[in-house]
């Protein structure tokens, strides 16, 4: 595995972990909307997510269709889909 692929896997795993933390805290906040500690946790992970997503799409390609930067090719359909076992 090249350094580049290793970096991609590591960053992808980090995004998945941060996203899961957000998925879970969002459900908690739905029923505890006044919990300031939970809101702090949410804001911390939201920022981590935004940074990591921006870095990933810049280096390795889009994870959402609005992250396509290329003007010559629709890169959204270039990389593997999640069910292909790459993710």
């Amino acid at each position: 595995m090249t350094m580049n692929q290793l970096g991609r896997k590591r960053l992808f795993k980090f995004i998945c972990e941060v996203d899961f933390a957000l998925d879970d805290i969002c459900l908690y906040l739905d029923t505890h909307p006044c919990d300031r500690q939970a809101l702090e946790y949410y804001h911390k992970y939201k920022e981590l997510r935004e940074q990591a997503l921006a870095e990933y799409s810049e280096c390795f390609g889009p994870l959402t269709s609005n992250q396509v930067e290329d003007h010559n090719y629709w890169t959204w359909v270039r990389d593997p889909w999640p069910w292909e076992g790459e993710c």
Binding site: C16, F20, D24, L27, T31, L63, P82, C87
Partner: protein
């Protein structure tokens, strides 16, 4: 509306196809306590819920169930990838294969197709939330049953993740039920449907 993220909520990398296991876990795609039914149940129930916290919970848990449906479908796909006609016959996968080839179609393990009668939208928040809590427990039991039948670590790992999420969702629906009951108790009303018996909206809590 929804937008798609090109990743699974939990990773699935199954390197050893096994159509027998696929036929069991497909129940959590289109079976009576599966993820498709769960997503449709919560996303359909939310419209008449007069409390915004509860509508939020139904929206977000319903959305997560779509991600779980994708995890299960991915597992079925990877467990049945590149099978030969001989392997299909020997594993008993032929009855599925004849109608769907290696496509992923929502059905129960016994072959019964998915249908909307597997869930209810009663339009009464207390009634619907009790169904939702029961649904999470039934799905958890199904995952327990699956874990008793399989030992392949590549399959067990995402199944354990999904099982844990049923427990968290059960907890959140319990909190939703408390929220609805507290709001009813404020006016000392008991045999009353807050979604129907009185003009009620999110602004009129």
């Amino acid at each position: 509306m929804w937008s798609y993220e090109k990743k699974l909520q939990y990773p699935v990398n199954i390197t050893r196809p096994n159509p027998q296991i696929a036929q069991v876990i497909i129940s959590q795609f289109g079976g009576p306590d599966g993820e498709l039914g769960a997503a449709m149940r919560y996303l359909s129930q939310r419209y008449t819920i007069p409390y915004r916290e509860v509508a939020g919970c139904l929206t977000d848990i319903g959305t997560e169930e779509l991600a779980h449906m994708e995890i299960i479908s991915t597992m079925v796909h990877q467990l049945t990838k590149s099978l030969s006609p001989e392997e299909i016959k020997a594993s008993g996968f032929d009855k599925y294969y004849v109608d769907h080839t290696l496509g992923v179609w929502p059905q129960a393990a016994g072959g019964i197709p998915f249908n909307a009668c597997e869930f209810q939208v009663k339009g009464d928040p207390i009634t619907d939330l009790y169904e939702d809590m029961a649904a999470e427990q039934k799905a958890r039991s199904t995952y327990d049953n699956i874990l008793r039948l399989i030992s392949d670590a590549e399959v067990c790992d995402p199944i354990r993740f999904l099982r844990e999420r049923e427990i968290v969702h059960f907890q959140r629906f319990g909190e939703c039920t408390r929220i609805v009951q507290d709001k009813l108790n404020q006016k000392n009303f008991y045999m009353y449907n807050p979604a129907f018996d009185k003009p009620c909206s999110c602004n009129n809590q």
